[in-house]
Symmetry: C3
Amino acid sequence: MKLIYSIVHDEDSPRVMAELNKAGFRVTKLNSSGGFLRSGNTTLMTVVEDEEVKQALDIIRKFSSARKAAVNTNVTPSAAGGSYVPFPVEVNIGGATVFITNVEYFEKM
Amino acid sequence: MKLIYSIVHDEDSPRVMAELNKAGFRVTKLNSSGGFLRSGNTTLMTVVEDEEVKQALDIIRKFSSARKAAVNTNVTPSAAGGSYVPFPVEVNIGGATVFITNVEYFEKM
Amino acid sequence: MKLIYSIVHDEDSPRVMAELNKAGFRVTKLNSSGGFLRSGNTTLMTVVEDEEVKQALDIIRKFSSARKAAVNTNVTPSAAGGSYVPFPVEVNIGGATVFITNVEYFEKM
Ligand SMILES: Nc1ncnc2c1ncn2[C@@H]1O[C@@H]2COP(=O)(O)O[C@H]3[C@@H](O)[C@H](n4cnc5c(N)ncnc54)O[C@@H]3COP(=O)(O)O[C@H]2[C@H]1O
Ligand SMILES: Nc1ncnc2c1ncn2[C@@H]1O[C@@H]2COP(=O)(O)O[C@H]3[C@@H](O)[C@H](n4cnc5c(N)ncnc54)O[C@@H]3COP(=O)(O)O[C@H]2[C@H]1O
Ligand SMILES: Nc1ncnc2c1ncn2[C@@H]1O[C@@H]2COP(=O)(O)O[C@H]3[C@@H](O)[C@H](n4cnc5c(N)ncnc54)O[C@@H]3COP(=O)(O)O[C@H]2[C@H]1O
């Protein structure tokens, strides 16, 4: 068996957990924070059978990868004056750091 | 050495920790929550010598296994009317998910 | 790659994280607490390349080891009466418990 750690953004964590559960995986959430940005993030632990690793990674990748999103800002690039015009800007969101360690023993008590 | 993770119910965690300490084990507690029930649970980390694994698992099993308990409910099964009669019902409590990874290096600084 | 866990005192954690980041390491912080003293402590997770383990351990050791510090108490040993005189006393502070597990797979998504 393997223990998959995934450090994901707080906004992505509910969806990743729900999708892992939907696929029959168990997942435990630990509240965490990063050293560099000092903002909160989420560390997920999922113990799976060896042959299920790829499927679990695919779910994590699909729902928490770094991606672009268009958000409306209230400031036009040439905000010389006048009324605010919503202006879509592309920003990077999400992103996951995933690592796997070997599980030597597993028991439900 | 081995790192034992035990995910236990919040109510069982103080007792499990105290019993591990009483037996001379060190233990660290992380607050966690489950993906499925979304309620809180507790993740314990205990690093032990290889030959102590069985003893540590016996303590965890003894104080956090899934078990039955009788609780008094206020509703009789045939609660047609009249006064509430305490009625003992058997419920499942506790339960632990335990997994072990290998520790390659250990140092007290 | 290796996963380095370091359980450090809360007061040492900001400095250890900053120094690891300054050296180019990534670090994730989990809030934790000890079983014995029941007070809070901090568990840091740092995944590094095999050949970087020694450098990361040197940083953790330098900024979180058990050490002596002089603190001023307000009570002289012979506090028979009279005014309080600041009296330096040597106390033990800090200390880290560090353990390392092997990382079989690492991916940034
Ligand atoms: N090898 C590893 N071991 C343990 N935890 C790891 C890790 N790699 C990543 N993490 C965790 O994942 C979070 C996001 O990392 P990411 O590399 O995507 O994004 C990072 C990275 O782009 C940058 N960064 C972090 N540390 C850096 C450093 N020492 N130098 C330059 N950039 C850094 O800042 C972003 C946020 O970092 P932050 O520390 O707040 O939060 C990190 C940290 O909590
Ligand atoms: N392989 C694993 N990897 C990582 N963490 C693990 C794990 N197995 C168990 N856990 C952790 O232990 C808690 C209790 O699991 P248990 O299997 O006893 O009890 C579970 C199980 O009976 C059921 N359950 C969980 N996920 C399920 C799923 N995908 N499908 C069906 N039932 C599920 O709901 C109960 C509560 O689950 P919840 O997620 O709230 O809380 C879980 C989770 O935090
Ligand atoms: N093998 C291990 N596995 C998992 N976590 C570990 C560990 N060794 C240490 N820790 C973690 O590091 C903290 C500091 O441990 P330390 O050994 O320096 O300092 C310890 C130790 O000197 C003493 N202590 C702990 N457990 C003891 C026990 N069962 N019997 C006697 N002394 C104990 O009390 C201090 C504070 O302990 P506390 O439990 O509050 O907090 C512990 C615990 O959270």
